[in-house]
Subunit: 356 residues, 2 copies
Amino acid sequence: MGSVLSDVAKVVQEKTQVRLHKRNIERVISAVMTTGDFWEIVDRSDLPVPAASEIVKELISREILFVDDRDNILLTQRGYDVAKELGIYEIPDYSCQACEGRGTPFYADKELYRTFVELAKDRPKAIQDFDQGSVTPETTVSRVLFIDSRGDLRGKDVIVMGAEDDLTGLAIALTRKANRVLIIDIDQRLIDFDNAIIKELGIDNAEAMVWDLRNPYSEDLLQKFDIFITDPPETFAAFRAFIGRGIATLRDEGCAGYFGLTLRDSSIFRWKEFQETLLNEYGVVITDIVQDFNDYMNWEYHPETRAAQIAPVKRNPSGIWYRSAWYRIETLPGFKVWNEPISDDVFYLDEEGSTT
Amino acid sequence: MGSVLSDVAKVVQEKTQVRLHKRNIERVISAVMTTGDFWEIVDRSDLPVPAASEIVKELISREILFVDDRDNILLTQRGYDVAKELGIYEIPDYSCQACEGRGTPFYADKELYRTFVELAKDRPKAIQDFDQGSVTPETTVSRVLFIDSRGDLRGKDVIVMGAEDDLTGLAIALTRKANRVLIIDIDQRLIDFDNAIIKELGIDNAEAMVWDLRNPYSEDLLQKFDIFITDPPETFAAFRAFIGRGIATLRDEGCAGYFGLTLRDSSIFRWKEFQETLLNEYGVVITDIVQDFNDYMNWEYHPETRAAQIAPVKRNPSGIWYRSAWYRIETLPGFKVWNEPISDDVFYLDEEGSTT
């Protein structure tokens, strides 16, 4: 009976090319004990969508799960028997209601939060071309407070790279606490939006400019900042373009970088490879990994994504289901200034990704 | 003027053999803006005590800091001028008041918390021989809830290794949710304490036994568990004995390990070496690093520690100042079963450690 899980892992791995182990299957069964919603199952099982989808389909074909007429995914009687025999249980959610589990509550600076929400209401809509999907305003403000409480904001030169759909750069600028804020993004709409607000509010140490991170940085961006902040897609090429290049903007040792990494578009196996790149190649140390720090709002283009197309059910997400962990890294002596060009092959999407 | 920080870093590194960069000095100056208490300065600057102490002394000799007649450490007028010129500011604390910044509030299971507090009141006192110093009851219970919310408790075989001064093993046993709990520690007093409670409460799937982690595990402990939990001293030898051997108890891929690592007895440079060992040698991935998760109560033997002897002031700590980050790791295929003997040279204390 225990071999059911390994067996499903093997079959799904062959089908999807997403690396899996048997505990990934266990987590899906646990998740179904709590929710029938496919997108919540993805969230609770911390798996790439293609893998979660195929696992559900495989478990349906083995009569461990079934789908009811309202697109709810449920355990069959056989499913409950299997779970009991293998010792699989529901997993409780104990995350803090006050700070939404981040450890840093967004309302610790209510004025910043209110100002940000007012300004963000007219933000450009997320579009599929650039893998956009904004985090909640609570996430953006919590990021800023987290960064400030690590001594990485006041008096610092900060670059916010290629993730301005979250308006994190704007929120950093609004604090007026950094020495300098440079916001870069590929999307002209976001750059114009930020610059209009920056000008209107007379924030004279912040600016936004268009940049495609596939291109190497010019000399005036290399090793000129104390802090970088970004939120990459989870392909290797994007990891290099966003994180590698982020590290290259840092001036010297003891500087810090912040970014989100998700398990919804990347397996835990790939996370290990990302971590190896950080330590062995880029020469930085990881100081923080806070799971589920970044909550993403649903994007209008969801029905057009690969994720929606491969899902085992048609029902669209209703609540927040896409989350990422918040990483902080720190440079140490000898860290690498990586600034190669990147071809755009497999930049946004590969076998583990699906939400673009 | 900017060279003051690099200069101090260099001098102190030579004196203490603790690796430093100039931002470590910046952090000490920031900390002094918030508190005059040396132990709180260590806490806020995330530095090994010998380094923090020598930095304070060096900054005093350069007339950037001074000590008043109540053992408060303060900035001189010159110190304020230097801070202003270099753009050094106070760092705010935005950690959540509800969950104490952990993201997982201890009161999410009030019954477990109350039961634990009642039982722990008669716990054996922390002794210096074994580098003991207990975390707060709120920390212990939060650890259990964190582990449970990751799917690492219910139905699992759990080993709690060499850190039972925190009574984490007892707290795990009290939930009665694991399949099996094995608690090992070098201290007979703690083992007897746990076994008495386990027997009295009729918890029949838990047991405690004496073990010295410097010795290799016997076959009946290797690869027999789903989860290990520990809290090592920060020397390399102890890291291997606690974490390396912890990983060796895990049965297969997708299993998890939990442990604390502090920056009060270890530099960020050494953290990088620990992380390299985890990824490159042991073949595991890091899934969580939650800073300041573990709060340690002060230990009675503090005046006898090297930390107290080298501090720049005589005043003992009044509040919590010693914290550690909470790590979670996960095994992936090919992870290493490391089980070599360890000599006891430099097991508890080296150039960066001081609180034993």
